[in-house]
Symmetry: C2
Subunit: 160 residues, 2 copies
């Protein structure tokens, strides 16, 4: 992972895409969000969503998976270049999560992350705070999901 100084506002990265199958939608919903429009095609069609719809938590979790995998790719690329690696802190949470449109069975959602803010931390010397917005867009080019996350990122000089 990169250091605070190496990250610029506006930087954009394609994180990957995920196809939501009916089976995966129902499996997630049965465990964590057992509402009828997440569990049954016919109930989904009769609902406001117009089809079997993935739980918003399923969409967020699938996005998390892609973010982790992308982080691994970034790390491998950095190792391959011989770069020094930054160890990011844990995320304290996020804000402005939006489920903009339903994600229906068979939809493929592509996720892109953009750095929207960076500032030095007042409480943790040697650390910066990033804000990144990750947006999910379906195969018809419609935005379906957006989340703005905060991360603590170490500064290069403090890293020794």
């Amino acid at each position: 992972m990169r250091f605070f100084e190496d990250i610029q506002i506006g930087q954009r990265r394609e994180i990957g895409s995920h196809t939501f199958t009916a089976e995966a939608i129902k499996t997630f919903a049965a465990k964590f969000d057992p509402q009828r429009f997440h569990l049954d095609e016919e109930e989904g069609r009769k609902s406001l969503f117009g089809g079997l719809a993935a739980s918003g938590w399923h969409v967020g979790s699938a996005c998390m998976r892609l973010l982790i995998e992308d982080g691994r790719r970034l790390t491998q690329e950095a190792v391959a270049r011989g770069d020094k690696l930054a160890v990011w802190g844990p995320s304290p949470g996020f804000r402005d999560l939006r489920w903009i449109r339903p994600v229906l069975s068979g939809d493929t959602v592509s996720f892109v992350s953009v750095i929207v803010d960076k500032r030095t931390s007042g409480s943790r010397p040697g650390w910066g705070i990033l804000q990144a917005t990750t947006t999910g867009t379906n195969q018809r080019g419609e935005e379906v999901y957006s989340i703005t996350a905060t991360a603590f990122v170490p500064m290069r000089e403090a890293g020794g």
Copy 2:
């Protein structure tokens, strides 16, 4: 579910509790958040979390499950009283999600929801907009999780 007029700011409801087992933490993480401190006890102990820690998405999803089950209980109670039922709209998202402290294997988190705001919708006549904050507290009385969600709720008079 209740109508907009029947809901008061400050209303508080215990949603239920959930114990996060090591097995469930690892199963969720393997699928959606494969970071070492979510997958392995020893790696968890060596991390900032100090133990095998549940993914934040696992905590949020488990809370969602309890909210759905609590919604069913509310509905059943209303039916038993012979009340007219309100059909809530879908949630457009949430804000201010915070993972305040780690949730470690064996922790039991109890969730409570409080209505923090209500207003009439400008764009959807006959509907109101609620804000509810749901907080998770572990068995030591420490807050671990907080989320503020928005919901569209129909008004009684518009309901016919």
